[in-house]
Symmetry: D2
Subunit: 385 residues, 4 copies
Amino acid sequence: MTALEPLVARTSDFIRDTVIPVEYEVVAHGRVVDDALRLDLQKKAKDAGVFGPLSDVRYGGLGLDTRAQARVLEAAGASLLGPLSVNGSAPDDGNIHLLAHAGTPAQKERYLAPLASGDIRSSIAMTEPAPGAGSDPSLLRTVAERTGSGWVINGEKHFTTGADGAGFTICVAATADGPTMFLVDQDNPGLRVGRRMPTLDHSVPGGHCEVDFVDCAVTGDAVLGEVGLGMEYAQVRLAPSRLVFCMNWLGLAVRAHEMAARHITGRSAFGGPIAEHGMAQGLVADSEIDIAAARGLIRTAAESIDEQGPASSAARHHASIAKTFVSEAVWRILDRSVQLHGGLGVCEDHLVARFLVESRAFRIYEGPSEVLRWSIARRVLRSVR
Amino acid sequence: MTALEPLVARTSDFIRDTVIPVEYEVVAHGRVVDDALRLDLQKKAKDAGVFGPLSDVRYGGLGLDTRAQARVLEAAGASLLGPLSVNGSAPDDGNIHLLAHAGTPAQKERYLAPLASGDIRSSIAMTEPAPGAGSDPSLLRTVAERTGSGWVINGEKHFTTGADGAGFTICVAATADGPTMFLVDQDNPGLRVGRRMPTLDHSVPGGHCEVDFVDCAVTGDAVLGEVGLGMEYAQVRLAPSRLVFCMNWLGLAVRAHEMAARHITGRSAFGGPIAEHGMAQGLVADSEIDIAAARGLIRTAAESIDEQGPASSAARHHASIAKTFVSEAVWRILDRSVQLHGGLGVCEDHLVARFLVESRAFRIYEGPSEVLRWSIARRVLRSVR
Amino acid sequence: MTALEPLVARTSDFIRDTVIPVEYEVVAHGRVVDDALRLDLQKKAKDAGVFGPLSDVRYGGLGLDTRAQARVLEAAGASLLGPLSVNGSAPDDGNIHLLAHAGTPAQKERYLAPLASGDIRSSIAMTEPAPGAGSDPSLLRTVAERTGSGWVINGEKHFTTGADGAGFTICVAATADGPTMFLVDQDNPGLRVGRRMPTLDHSVPGGHCEVDFVDCAVTGDAVLGEVGLGMEYAQVRLAPSRLVFCMNWLGLAVRAHEMAARHITGRSAFGGPIAEHGMAQGLVADSEIDIAAARGLIRTAAESIDEQGPASSAARHHASIAKTFVSEAVWRILDRSVQLHGGLGVCEDHLVARFLVESRAFRIYEGPSEVLRWSIARRVLRSVR
Amino acid sequence: MTALEPLVARTSDFIRDTVIPVEYEVVAHGRVVDDALRLDLQKKAKDAGVFGPLSDVRYGGLGLDTRAQARVLEAAGASLLGPLSVNGSAPDDGNIHLLAHAGTPAQKERYLAPLASGDIRSSIAMTEPAPGAGSDPSLLRTVAERTGSGWVINGEKHFTTGADGAGFTICVAATADGPTMFLVDQDNPGLRVGRRMPTLDHSVPGGHCEVDFVDCAVTGDAVLGEVGLGMEYAQVRLAPSRLVFCMNWLGLAVRAHEMAARHITGRSAFGGPIAEHGMAQGLVADSEIDIAAARGLIRTAAESIDEQGPASSAARHHASIAKTFVSEAVWRILDRSVQLHGGLGVCEDHLVARFLVESRAFRIYEGPSEVLRWSIARRVLRSVR
């Protein structure tokens, strides 16, 4: 871990010098976040030695534990495009983690290696339109049935993050033996990527898509890990994935907070710099406190993942707490940053306005705050019985 | 006032049957809010007998006091396009009010009559880029100098609402005798409308523009009311204008609240309809409370305008309180509505996502919450001395 | 209603000149709030012409509708002892209302007349220790059984407000025909007043007591109104009673707010009067907004009671909203007032500290905020079906 | 640090088995927190091997760094009397720290040794009544003048914590060479302890007193450390002292949170256990999140003290953040615990009611939240310049 501080510094430099200029083109001039942009930034990240915070060294990654990831991904998160540039963004983050945990050697070679290197992107097809599985995975309606040679999958998914242009999709489907995950190549004719849903966030290459599985035939070795363990694997993926979200968004909030502090230092009204007005100072202090608290909660959850394992009850509890608090704190911080920018804060070519809009989904994706609070409370209530 | 309830009901019917279908084209299919759309909707509003809640009957308006306006404009506000459709939206609302108060008979005939009838739109050029007048009007840098035949105006404005395509602009400029308002025809070659600022709100025809006054020559009768009374007139305009914002946005929040309530009634997860989960009920109750409180504050301020006058200290105090609370309550209500819609809530073709984004500027335009709190507190503190 | 403004002014004068000096003895020197104190203050209120805001003129009251009560009781509420002094405090307020609504002529003569005149106090025995009726009245365990000559009541109650020293108690008990209210004279040997519960509020003469009904025999005419209508009567009592709480406590919050504003005007730190520091101004503005919103919600609920009746669905909805918001707003206002007083704010001989502590129960008595939010949400959700 | 977990466990056991029974006598039966009670509990803490978390082993303490103190003092904080029992409560905590840092060998022997062992208590006289030094130390009015043989101190202090019965008081006074700290024996005839201020918190032996220094003569060796360094020493004391407050109060909040969780598990209303109602679960989750965030912030500040030193800019910043967040989080947690207990929650013989009242001053003592936010914001704003 001795090399951590230099790595964090290198990541910050890379974001500032290389990624933020591209981010400006995206936000102010409407440049689309596509794979050409992604591959260019990822190549530069490799050159800068900051690529792969979530991957093992055997796959060209940096081989960091979760605690170290928190430091690096907060630095990368300073730009909307930073996590993508270092290969530390959803949904690939979770899929890398999941494949490393549950994949067979052949699956790792075929799917994990090119995913970790950035040669391909991936997707995860979990969420279903009502009355299927939204926040509640028990409502799963996509079904996989055994055939002579493998399986055939049928069902509708939506919010399938990254589906358009992915190399493969991990599909969660019900089987006679319980929920199971399948690795489906994106060129499988039974996997039909529909429209990109017009979500408020625009920074994920591949978008959030509607995906239909129509008599989608896969071979037996498409089963990720074991049949019937889909929900267990989802749990393995969930805490790290929630936490990566937190790390990335916290980085963006920190940047917006600093932008706001700089903005009010340079502006005057009502007799002096805005930075000397008490109510503005109150907003700055509240954001500084939110940032410190968010950082502490991420660290606690990261330690729990590292020490008790990603699917342990402690890790899941701490990741739920972190996700709930950080997603709401990021929203507050970005909102205060907009407010401190005054009229400029609501101009879409100004970064903070875009950051605020992009971040809204964070309080819903990977578990809405209300569902997380419910699970947090139940754990507390069980513990006192 | 006996006709008020039927008028409110007619307005609600008009919004539901005529405006909301057009709103859907705007939000889901990107139809632009331009003057063709405006004129079509306003014609239909006239046919429905719901046009002109802010204008005197002599100008074809409904001749309502502020209390009655609150009821009608909340009903109109149920759609993003509702206030525009009935000619009850910014910046024309404030300009109608201002011209009725301070205009000469000739100015009323030339500017107020066609504005009240919807034949033209108007604009107001008050805010300036830093270091000019933003929230603090004392920093005014646009200057008007007397010439032999009238005045010549020079200065830069931005956030000039409605400028693109307006019939005229009310420009606030400094003179030797104090801040003064000028009525400038939009085809004056010295009035140069620059780019539309890319603000998060997209529903104002004419946008929020950068406007330069470059040796802009106007005749002596372009002075609105009297020379040197610009700030007094701004005060006359301010309380009613803030309150119209509140009425309109409250209507939208009420609609989003009902949409959310309906949504969770029809969805199930975790063992039952979402509407039966306590945390969802908590969000619903909080929005219901916010709506009731917002309505009460608007009514109090409306009464104060009607009884003490729009520039009275009481009216300004109550309008500041209403603007602060309502703008923040609307934000909370729309945010909860998004959250209750889950993933669909962050899809831009879903109305609540768009409503949330459009509403962000409400906490900044016409006085940011922090500036309003400052003025509220100072009035309280003066009163105890 | 033309006499309302002078009545409000008289009430304010009475509180300032007569009640607040006694309040100071109570708070700073520990004088006990007993019936001697009550009778003395009530006599002075009669002399000042401000006694009886909740009673009909035929009982010596002021004959006000609920809207007018809101104005007068806010003025009376400026002191912890104000509502008691004018006979406008719990539990007598609700019992006066209930007897006027449901009492027989004989019951009105025997119980309502002396209660309205302040000759006696009363009590209400509704709440039961677990597993009986707390917030949920359906869990009622106290039972009344018919005997030859009347009824015999058995059961345990607690939080029986005002029981110690009351003239009579209204007891809610289950019968074969449904919940029923009984008027029980306090000297009935079957009514046993136990200890005063050591609640945080100390300003109710008679306290909040544990009360046992042990073979408590009453005659047939002890039934208030009709057998089996106990829950309906509880509803008649509930909205007005919740609203009186709101009026009273709002008055206290307004006073604490003004005390805080005065305090910070006279104190300096960090380079100037605290009143000029932005964060202090923010607290002042937030309290001013809370007060205005609370006042508006009380007025809306009062109108609903006056126009639709106290047990109407609208009145109950608006009273629930008012109770939830006002009880929480009062807590915030008192808390800010403490904070603005700095160290002095936490001294028990300083009024604001005492006010804060006394007010805590307001968010629980007569319906905890969570139960009210639940009922508010269910009404909203029913309305969209 | 290998012995930390057993020490934490021992502390928890000691609190549960030995301290909480005494706490019950204090809260429910009014037993006074005096030195007899303190000495008895401290003797038992020594016997249990949990005494002295803040003292060096050479003084019989446990020799813990700040990180370890955080764990142990949170465990001790589970009871109102816990920190006192282990000698880890204000004002002795800060005075131990200060003497260890700035005391001469003779001062350590005379004052630190008996203080660390619990043989005596101490006091600190910093705060002055207006217009003296309250939150703003620059307003210091107490003066020390050199005499032939030493110094003579004159001035008024209040909120002098622990003064009644202390062995000595550290007095901050202005000198010609700047603010200076003096060690004054409590039996000095010029040190006059006045009344105990009737603060909402009652658990500090010695109370918060008014203290007058009247021609109070001390010898030259009464100067703590060096003349003119009083503010620097105050800074050395401040961050650790704020953090100890946080540790202690967090422990109490954790206990109240668990009490509330247990309470609602055993109670039913509205069709099921309260623990299954979503709004109650929301309160539980919010408290769990607050606790986790508070713990993280305390740890961050503790690390900063251990690694950068107690008077470093980083340590002061993190301690300010922790104090602000934790004091407000504790208040919220205790308030929710009261609310979840329903009516019982506002009974003073019930622990949570007492905890809430006792905790109110925590948001004011050692720096009100507003002053802390101001200093936090200024550090942020300086850093972006």
